[in-house]
């Protein structure tokens, strides 16, 4: 069912807060997991059960410090658990779908509330912007109507967002359809009929056609950026290999820690498996004349590629949190596109698509293994 949340005084955030409060008050959910504004001016996910506290809810803040799919997994993975409405942007929702398939999250008692994404900033940029009194939310939201999404002057959206060709919510229980909407007039929402019935909301006609048009336009522009960046990184990979692209890597493991897909409790690379005997390093150094330390850096990235690239949803948290400013997300997306194509797999599309590495057909790739 489609409806429109009325907006007063151009305060879209208050209108969305009001809608979310009703989800709690009408007992659609027991709590909401959503971005909350902290007293220090940043945004963090929180599990909110008291509707009064939703005045600090900031689900439209253009910042991504954490892919909330990670925490959505923690509050949903096993019963007993609450019925939770989880507010996610598109890359977070895709990551959640992958985590469900990796058995690290469950949709059983979750109500997914997807918000079309207009682009996000890195946390330091967002904090600086707010301190300077810049980054007017109304101005950003106004760009949604015609799809001319652009960052605040002097700032850039995160790399992942600049090349994101899936900013729109494709499948959620409740979708805030920002793209194509005149948000000053109202926020178009689509939701399952049973949720609408509980809320006592009547259907209202939004202009659905415009969303499709604007999505198409944004996707086209982003795809162009993506393809240019893909071409550049592929050329660099061909010339320098992974060890060249990641030459400045310090093995801090941030990319792994913030990756929503890397869920292992004890990563192989944090285990003692790769702590070698002192003489082993000496042997390598003597054999090659020199040996890069920390050891196994290229192995780390190539292994991570093998373990999770098929499920990489391109949220780009890895790039955002790399202290060496390495294009981690770009490498993973560029390689991921090729591997995902081989398996005809689209990460985050549906919980029905089986993960490529846990399924098989008997009559496939016969040439591999037979010569």
């Amino acid at each position: 069912m489609k409806t429109v949340i009325p907006v007063e005084n151009n305060d879209v955030r208050a209108a969305v807060q009001g809608f979310l409060k009703r989800l709690l008050e009408a007992d659609v959910v027991d709590a909401l997991l959503l971005p909350m504004e902290t007293p220090t001016g940043t945004v963090t996910p929180a599990l909110v059960s008291d509707p009064a506290l939703l005045d600090a809810a900031d689900p439209l803040a253009p910042v991504l410090g954490l892919n909330a799919a990670r925490v959505a997994g923690k509050v949903s993975i096993r019963a007993p658990r609450g019925r939770i409405g989880v507010v996610l942007r598109s890359c977070e929702l895709r990551a959640l779908v992958e985590l469900v398939k990796l058995q690290q999250a469950s949709l059983d008692d979750l109500v997914t509330i997807g918000v079309d994404c207009l682009g996000t900033y890195d946390v330091p940029d967002y904090v600086a912007m707010r301190k300077n009194g810049q980054g007017d939310l109304a101005a950003l939201l106004a760009t949604a109507q015609h799809g001319d999404l652009s960052p605040q002057d002097g700032y850039a959206f995160r790399d992942a967002c600049q090349m994101c060709e899936r900013p729109h919510i494709e499948q959620a229980d409740v979708t805030l359809e920002l793209l194509g909407a005149d948000l000053a007039a109202g926020v178009p929402v689509s939701m399952a009929d049973e949720i609408a019935a509980k809320l006592g909301i009547e259907a209202a006609e939004g202009d659905g056609k415009q969303r499709d048009e604007v999505v198409k336009q944004v996707v086209q522009a982003r795809t162009q950026v993506r393809d240019e960046w893909f071409a550049a990184i592929r050329q660099q990979l061909e010339q320098e290999g992974v060890e060249g692209v990641f030459a400045a890597c310090v093995r801090c493991h941030n990319c792994m820690t913030v990756c929503p897909i890397c869920y292992c409790k004890t990563c192989l690379f944090k285990s003692p498996v790769f702590d070698h005997e002192p003489m082993q390093y000496m042997n390598w150094a003597e054999r090659k004349g020199a040996y890069r330390l920390p050891a196994d850096t290229t192995l780390f990235h190539l292994t991570r590629l093998n373990h999770m690239v098929l499920s990489c949803v391109g949220c780009g948290m890895c790039t955002s949190d790399c202290p060496a400013d390495l294009p981690v997300g770009l490498v993973f997306r560029a390689i991921g596109q090729q591997v995902q194509e081989v398996f005809e797999y689209v990460p985050g599309r549906s919980v029905e698509d089986p993960l490529p590495l846990i399924t098989f057909r008997e009559d496939e790739w016969m040439e591999v293994g037979e010569e």
Binding site: V242, T297, F360, W365
Partner: protein
């Protein structure tokens, strides 16, 4: 000079088929190149990509994964899963700028000692033609 290059090949062989096939090659006194270092695992499906990548990045010239023929896996589907993993691994190696043809997956049954010897011979020759793994010389890996 090219003739003096002897490749080092690391082979991960499953306990039930490929390893037993290699054993048969030995007990049958079938000659094959001594370039292969065999590591026995219970199943080709238990070969993690890291096992393959570590020797390649440390300078091994080739990695062979040997499993049961399709339909013969003693754990039902380990070899089918291994095949998918190898397909992904090769695609990643290729797109990351490495030579994916240094990784071979072959099905060898417990009774195919001859096939094991032949596979090792073919792989040794193919890799001799390629030359040494360039990673052998690189220190910044």
């Amino acid at each position: 000079m090219a003739d003096s290059f002897e490749p080092k090949i690391v082979a991960f062989l499953c306990n039930w088929c490929a390893y037993t096939g290699a054993d048969l090659a030995g007990t049958s006194r079938i000659q094959y190149p001594p370039n292969v270092r065999i590591i026995r695992l219970m199943c080709s499906g238990s070969v993690d990509s890291t096992y393959v990548l570590k020797p390649l990045l440390d300078g091994a010239d080739g990695v062979l994964i040997g499993g049961c023929h399709p339909g013969d896996c003693h754990y039902q589907s380990g070899n089918y899963k291994a095949r998918r993993r190898v397909v992904a691994l090769k695609e990643i190696l290729k797109s990351a700028g490495y030579d994916e043809d240094r990784v071979w997956l072959r099905w060898i049954s417990a009774s195919e000692g001859q096939l094991f010897a032949q596979t090792v011979t073919e792989m040794t020759n193919a890799i001799k033609e390629k030359g040494p793994n360039p990673m052998r010389q690189k220190w910044a890996v």
